[in-house]
């Protein structure tokens, strides 16, 4: 099953040759965690080195979840193929943890810390093999009071050091369609700017018709026309997250 998921819905993350950005959006009712974890697993199974910067979860959460996809993050970590940067635990503390980053001294300091870690990895394996996965950078907008442009600029700086970047953000209606207050505007501007620049946008959302017992949500992938290496241009499928696996199927398809 994970094989077909990889082939259909993750191939565009892996097979792109030139430098590019992939955007993954999710909503409260359709969490993107499972997609992120299957992506991590797929990237590690291919020959990429992954730098994983998460502002949402700690290392333990991720290694538990990715184990279900048959990948031991600890093992890859020891080989230097997986580097976790903890953006959550010490975000507002003076920099104490070894693998964490802190925003105590501002966004620039945080970015500097990330860049140092990325450079170290890129120097070891060559930047063309490094994939950066950033989870939940939109949290910086709301808690850090920085503008969307500043965060996009930091992402651009990090992106220049690696071969490709995947950014996972929230796209709930409250984040992307309201522009009354400054925070709403920054959130909307952040997501739409990234969506404009992304070579592919993967959106997870809830089923349009409501909750169902055997469907968790809808997954839509749109790729820009330059990334012509996939045989499809866009795709919309349903998925069902079970304990330890995910089933992906088309609308109206017979399932066992």
């Amino acid at each position: 099953m994970s094989q077909s998921l990889h082939h259909d819905l993750l191939s565009h993350h892996i097979s792109l040759s030139s430098s590019h950005l992939c955007l993954v959006t999710s909503v409260l009712g359709a969490s993107g965690s499972w997609y992120g974890h299957s992506l991590l697993a797929a990237l590690l199974k291919s020959s990429s080195t992954v730098i994983h910067l998460s502002f949402l979860h700690s290392a333990v959460f991720h290694s538990d979840a990715v184990r279900k996809w048959g990948v031991d993050l600890g093992q890859y970590g020891r080989k230097g193929r997986y580097v976790f940067i903890d953006g959550l635990s010490g975000l507002f503390l003076p920099d104490r943890t070894k693998d964490g980053v802190s925003m105590q001294a501002g966004l620039e300091k945080l970015s500097q810390q990330v860049k140092e870690k990325v450079k170290k990895v890129a120097a070891a394996v060559g930047s063309s093999k490094v994939v950066l996965v950033v989870e939940g950078p939109d949290v910086l907008l709301s808690v850090g009071g920085v503008s969307s442009m500043e965060v996009v600029n930091e992402l651009l700086d990090w992106h220049e050091l690696v071969s490709s970047t995947t950014v996972m953000v929230n796209a709930d209606a409250a984040f992307v369609t309201r522009t009354r207050t400054r925070l709403e505007m920054e959130e909307a501007s952040f997501v739409t700017t990234l969506a404009h620049q992304a070579a592919s946008v993967t959106s997870l959302r809830m089923l349009d018709t409501g909750l169902a017992k055997d469907v968790s949500g809808v997954l839509r992938v749109t790729t820009s026309s330059e990334t012509a290496n996939t045989d499809w241009h866009e795709k919309e499928v349903l998925y069902f997250v079970k304990d330890g696996s995910v089933e992906v199927f088309n609308r109206g398809q017979m399932r066992s």
Partner: protein, 344 residues
């Protein structure tokens, strides 16, 4: 203007625009949305400039994958996202003066960061880039909300001043708005049936959908052009820029081959304009449905044809009354008939 004349005229115009001939438009503004990215159009510009060996300067504000990685010869990329405007201006001028040829194509990947961070320096910056030998092409994304600098900050932009987009539209000598052909066809289909046009992406009404299906299709791009002549009169036209081969090139005066076509010449755009072919063995399904027999039998039809309609004679040339005489037969009981009334 006849269609043929307009076709030749406007295709020649877009061909001159895309091929940067005779400095047709010093500043072209491209408006795009998540439904249709401007990248296919910008790539077309780059392709045509490269084939003419015109040097290209690509100013990247937030491109994650700027062109040139693909390897176009005369293409230089300036990473502008960290540069203050004055430094960027100096870099551009230095680069331009170092070029052997006078002509140059300047491309700005996105004006949105500039409009957000320093809207007040937008006008001076752009006008400094425009010269008779350079062509400036800049993209503005309509669906990215602009978060202008806060009131109290140094670079604050007065509320009363026009929004950056209005300024840009005012500056531009040509505005090219790109649209998705898939979405336009769907919208047209809905309009033809007097239905509400569907929304796409963020306007789809589905929480969590960011980019609509059918966005930036591979087959090509719709370009809606507004070209301002020196006299100020505008020319507007819709075009279709096909991505690959498959569409016939038009031979224009001067031996120019152009692959861009008018939008109305797009086969799928035209299909709803044509009256659908009927009578190929199928019943017309669109006909009214009723339990009554609304048709006529052969006998009924014959009888109906024999009926002489009243005043049929009057329709002949110089009919009964002749000229414009009014035929009126007063009814003795109802009409008030008075001979003497006319005599005054």
């Amino acid at each position: 203007m006849s269609l043929d004349h307009r076709r030749t005229h406007n295709l020649l115009l877009i061909s001159r625009l895309l091929s940067l001939r005779d400095s047709t438009s010093p500043f072209t503004l491209i408006l795009d949305t998540l439904s249709q990215s401007s990248r296919p159009l910008v790539s077309e510009y780059i392709l045509r400039a490269t084939s003419q060996k015109i040097p290209i300067l690509f100013i990247s504000f937030n491109s994650f994958s700027p062109p040139g990685v693909a390897g176009a010869g005369g293409l230089t990329v300036i990473r502008a996202h960290r540069l203050p405007i004055s430094a960027l201006q100096t870099q551009i001028t230095t680069h331009l003066s170092s070029l052997p040829s006078k002509r140059c194509l300047l491309i700005i990947d996105s004006l949105n960061p500039l409009c957000s961070s320093s809207p007040s320096s937008l006008a001076p910056f752009l006008s400094s880039l425009i010269s008779p030998t350079t062509t400036l092409i800049a993209t503005f994304s309509l669906d990215i909300p602009l978060s202008m600098p806060p009131e109290a900050s140094g670079s604050a932009y007065p509320d009363s001043a026009p929004s950056p987009l209005v300024l840009l539209k005012y500056f531009a000598t040509t505005i090219l708005e790109v649209r998705s052909i898939t979405h336009m066809l769907e919208g047209k289909k809905a309009r033809d049936r007097s239905l509400v046009e569907p929304g796409w992406g963020l306007e789809e009404g589905k929480e969590g959908a960011v980019v609509g299906l059918g966005a930036t299709p591979r087959e090509g791009t719709v370009v809606v052009m507004e070209y301002r002549r020196k006299s100020g009169r505008g020319v507007t036209e819709g075009f279709f820029l096909p991505a690959g081969a498959g569409f016939k090139e038009t031979l224009l005066p001067g031996g120019i081959r152009e692959k861009v076509i008018l939008l109305e010449d797009h086969p799928e755009w035209r299909v709803s304009e044509q009256v659908k072919e009927r009578g190929n063995g199928f019943e017309d399904e669109e006909g009214p449905k009723s339990t009554f027999s609304l048709g006529l039998t052969e006998e009924q039809r014959k009888k109906r044809d024999e009926v002489v309609l009243p005043y049929f004679d009057a329709q002949r040339e110089g009919g009964i009354g002749g000229g414009g005489a009014i035929l009126f037969t007063p009814d003795r009981e109802i009409d008030d008939f008075d001979d003497e009334e006319d005599e005054i």
